[in-house]
Symmetry: C2
Subunit: 381 residues, 2 copies
């Protein structure tokens, strides 16, 4: 792609038109691409590049399927160091490569001299526009990576945590035919200690039976708001418990809090919030509604808010899990920093893609464990 075309797209974005353009044209291979940026009189230089993650398997949840996940990779340069960040953009969440780039073009860090002044920098980034949580996370993660590199320590250490004190990660099995489901479970045999099953439809029992035909591993279930009726859900949860399921995520639509609270009270398994919780301000009202919350960097604007959400939820007596989208080892390794002390981890995102541009956290004995590299613990491949 020529420089002219990129300039053309950037100009379009500057006048607000890029959200209409299919920027996945921009998202070819990583190695040959230059990062885009806006020239500013800033000590920190933010740049970005759209990138398409090629999935190893078609990914299906209760309402649709895909083979690609678009992301935007970011870099934050300062004093010879580079922090890496990422916005992952599954289409159902409303952000796109175009909207992220339009957001990043508005980020003006020239008012900040010191990357370590994270609270003020990230508070500013949050005020640039409403929503855009993945775009904000792409700045937050790059800033954390940069600051960790300045300090020379990984974030799990800066947070005082033991990198090995993490729950085993779930590996997600999407809705599919019995044969495909069984084949997927067989493929990963021995690698994982726990699996996550996407449910939420009429085929729930068939899915579980298919998995149980090939493995005894404990399971978690993500109903993705797909269940309709409290008594049926309760029956299903009892049935699932008998089948070795240990946790259920988001049984009902996110706004049905009264029904969820009653289900949680009666449920023999912990019930976790996913869609019902986005950011820090959502956490408190989930107490008494859910047993715990699923924290995802792309929903909550990044590591700083995620860390606050974790501490808030735990202080309120709630359980916590750390989740992900399909992401490179950049955003996954960032999430892994937070995972010590969590109750569940669902951090298989980078294991699902063919073209991960980073090396970072690794699957070791069923757990995603951070490297000892500073920052978020990654390096370019």
């Amino acid at each position: 792609m020529s420089q002219n075309r990129r300039d053309f797209l950037k100009n379009l974005a500057a006048i607000g038109g890029l959200s209409m353009v299919n920027v996945s044209l921009l998202a070819k291979n990583f190695e040959n691409k230059k990062m885009n940026s806006i020239s500013r009189n800033s000590k920190m230089k933010l740049s970005w590049m759209p990138y398409d993650l090629q999935l190893k398997h078609t990914f299906t949840i209760s309402n649709f399927s895909r083979t690609i996940t678009p992301v935007v990779l970011t870099q934050l340069e300062y004093d010879g160091l580079t922090g890496y960040g990422e916005a992952s953009l599954p289409p159902y969440l409303g952000e796109s490569q175009a909207s992220v780039i339009a957001f990043l073009e508005k980020v003006d860090l020239s008012g900040f001299n010191d990357p370590m002044n994270m609270e003020e920098i990230l508070t500013y980034v949050d005020t640039i526009a409403e929503n855009n949580t993945a775009a904000k996370a792409s700045v937050d993660i790059a800033l954390h990576d940069l600051v960790g590199k300045i300090i020379g320590k990984p974030w799990y250490q800066l947070w005082g945590l033991n990198k090995n004190d993490v729950p085993p990660t779930t590996f997600t099995i999407g809705i599919d035919t019995d044969d495909v489901v069984k084949q997927k479970v067989q493929e990963v045999k021995g690698q994982f200690k726990i699996l996550k099953v996407k449910l939420g439809g009429r085929e729930d029992k068939r899915m579980i039976e298919a998995i149980r035909a090939v493995t005894d591993l404990p399971l978690t279930v993500d109903a993705n708001q797909g269940w309709k009726d409290r008594l049926q859900a309760l029956d299903m949860i009892y049935w699932l418990k008998d089948k070795g399921v240990v946790m259920v995520e988001q049984p009902f639509p996110k706004y049905k809090l009264d029904e969820i609270a009653r289900l949680t009270e009666e449920s023999p398994l912990p019930v976790f919030a996913d869609e019902s919780v986005q950011r820090l301000h959502d956490v408190e009202r989930m107490k008494g509604v859910f047993s715990g919350i699923n924290i995802k960097l792309m929903k909550c604007t990044g590591m700083r808010e995620a860390w606050k959400m974790k501490n808030l939820a735990q202080a309120l007596g709630m359980k916590v899990m750390i989740g992900c989208m399909t992401e490179t080892s950049c955003a996954i390794s960032a999430a892994v920093q937070l995972s010590p002390g969590m109750d569940f981890a669902d951090l298989d995102g980078a294991l699902l893609i063919q073209n991960d541009p980073f090396d970072g956290a690794k699957l070791i004995d069923g757990k995603m464990i951070s490297s000892d590299l500073p920052g978020i613990g990654i390096k370019k491949r």
Copy 2:
């Protein structure tokens, strides 16, 4: 003092007898003393020394007076670096130099190789015995100082904060005669932007009038649980507001939460919890009772829990202040690290003593500002 006498006292402590002994005998001048420790096969060596703070003025609150505050100074050595900590022990809080030393003698860090594993280390320290919050804080502060020195950064930076974004510190005026009160206020003229007045008795209005005769500075009021009746308290708060008071601490006994909640609802000034809040688990139930909470390292076991309390209270929509006991620049500088983003700061503790063994945070334009030294930002004088 001879080594034999120290050994004798230590042996007494080991058999549980030291709490009966006046260890202030041990607390002479800092320079000529050796730190005490228990020999353990540990990479981190914890040692301690009792020390008596000589107050510049007799200190009076609603129920008694004193001229000395006993403390215990701690050191945590690792790999050629030394972290400093402190337990401050105003007598009304129930800990003593003897009880702190008895606690510190139980601390066995030989199970921990890495000081950066703070969550596990401090969780262990918290489980050694109930209460003993100042003793625990003396380990927590020394560990934070050590870890900051290992990393080479002060904690305000590790927490991503701007060290200048702090509220002005209050300077506390104790209950005394009009002449003494006026003289005290005159003595500090120009140094402070806000004063804190200890009230809680029949002389409240006289105290305020005496101060108002010599200064127009805004005031905060600490009633120290001394008020008896809600309607009288409300009348007093309206009167105080007219006199330029901007905040009231702990109007009623700490357990009278229903009365406090009603007062807070009706009060034209924010009402803060002091005695009603000790630790992280106390914070949530203060929502709707108080407008905010006063966080003190000596009550809450130290910097790590204080940081969690601050974030929890703010996430719950409560205001926060950081307070102190009479302390050296060690514990004060530790508290200063937390103060950016707080609503009020009451960090005059080290300004009240004659024999501060440390240089650390400084009073600059009415604010206590951290040095740029790593850890808690102090050095020995």
